[in-house]
Amino acid sequence: MSVTPGPAFHRRGSLLRTLQEEQARLKMRLQELQELKRGLRDSPQDKVPFPVPEVPLVFRGHIKEDMEGPKSLVSNLQISYPLSGGSALVIFDDPKVAKQVLRQKEHQIQMEECRLRVQVQPVELPVVTAIQVTDRVSSQMSSQRVLVSGFPAKLKLSEEELLDKVELFFGKTKNGGGDVETRELLHGGVMLGFAEEEVAQNLCRIGQFTVPLGGRQFPLKVSPYMSGEIQKAEIKFQPVPQAVLVLNIPDVLDGPELQDVLQVHFQKPTRGGGEVETLTAVPPGEQCLAVFTTESS
């Protein structure tokens, strides 16, 4: 819209008046929209249509500007890496030493009477670099699964005990339940998956139950369970900077001896080695898991 000066404008003072009136109109419209937005915020639209457990959240100072990284919290990252018989895991103090050792694919370990030929390679761990997960609110609800909620805060039951008691109760047809196929303990609730859809639907219809848990009766709620699915998970292989995997170690030495021989070899700076933080040798016929976690934990 362009402003073409009309007859009103030629009168001194009336442009000012017109503009002031315009501003009053604009201010009112802005206020209208701001109130609408506030209203939407105070009763958030994306609140799910079913009762879901409440999780207490806290503001710890993170705001949008200084968050370049992910907006979700990733925690408890743990990777289990199998070590097979005839291999060893060497963790060096200095990643540069590990890099140096890895330059040679084959190492000759000098012993008194002979030499052991072994191979080395980096330890590559699978890490998730991107993930996309959606809930199935809009598409199909998982109709065989229900969420049991309303558990009191301080129950003196272990995870297993609680799951057992809940499954026992809702597994009985006389309680309105049926055959339970899956169960999972969630934060503030238990997910139960039934063999029959009708059982799940029936339980949701009834809604409220009095369930015996650890000697007392508690009122629990049953509602449909909203399941999720992974749309995309991008995985990359990342080497552990200080780690070296030694493979195809010939079966000539006992456990403790092998450990010593390897340690001596990899600590010799003349052979490109250096200070070793830990060394785990796995004798042939045995196996174990090496557990890796994040540096900060």
Binding site: R12, L16, R29, P56, V58, K64, L73, L77, S84, P126
Partner: protein, 309 residues
Amino acid sequence: MAFGGEEIDEVMKEYLKDEEFTKDEQKQKLIEKILEENIYLTMEIQKLETELQEPTGSSQIKEDIPETKMKFTSLENPEDDSRFSNISCSFQVSSRVPYELQKGEALITFEDEEVAQNVIRMEKHHVNIMDIGVEVMAKPVPLNSGVRFQVSVEVSKMKVNVTEIPGELPENQMRDKIELSFSKSRNGGGEVECVEYDKQAGSAVITFVETGVADRILKKKDYPLYINQDCHRVVVSPYIETHLKKFQVFSGISKRTVLLTGLEDLYMMDEEIVGDSVNIHFQRPKNGGGEVDMFKCCLNEICVAYFQE
């Protein structure tokens, strides 16, 4: 509706024709100011109108996870043999629920839940900021829902994914050819347990009897597949399964963080000074406050604050 620079000039030009008007410089300046303000208001209105049109979708987490350094922690000797068939990775994800702080609002996190709830119960707080008395209102923070879940990733040490398998042979015959080629130890293969072959997709999953074969084959990106006299190079990649566990939608509720409103009129003041005054006010037990963990106040521009467990 948009006010362009040229349109303002047009209006001004019309004005300047009016000689009487040009003498009245003050009025001219006032008109310019109002015109500018109107343009700003129009832009704000447009922004809000577009924003309010956006539909709200279902909960979704879409993240790029930054690289984290992993370190060796411990050894495990599980009874369950199957745990040696995969490299397993597991982690937990939980959404940080955003809350948009408007101008004139502040968030205050108390160490003690009781204190926070009391501050909310009191509703009105009279705060002294630089000798100005301000009525600050305390409310609970309305939060949206979030999701939490666990992800487990299993990279098989016994299986490999094969793709770009040509479709020239009937299904059963090709399956045999695949098994034969992948059994050849001279090419890095080993004894095959079973082959799942999808002729249409040109792909297969091969399970070997022993661990170590998969690793060997995956050292290269391709592998020779012999069909009669020809050798095709098929693409090999790790066989990875991802699982979602303990998926849960939750409703965020803020017990320790309180929303403070009523600071809109102080936008001319230094945000830090206002923030400090309010913060200090709520640290004093005599004002109903207590130990404060975190404080953020927003005077000049909207900011998005994240809530987490």
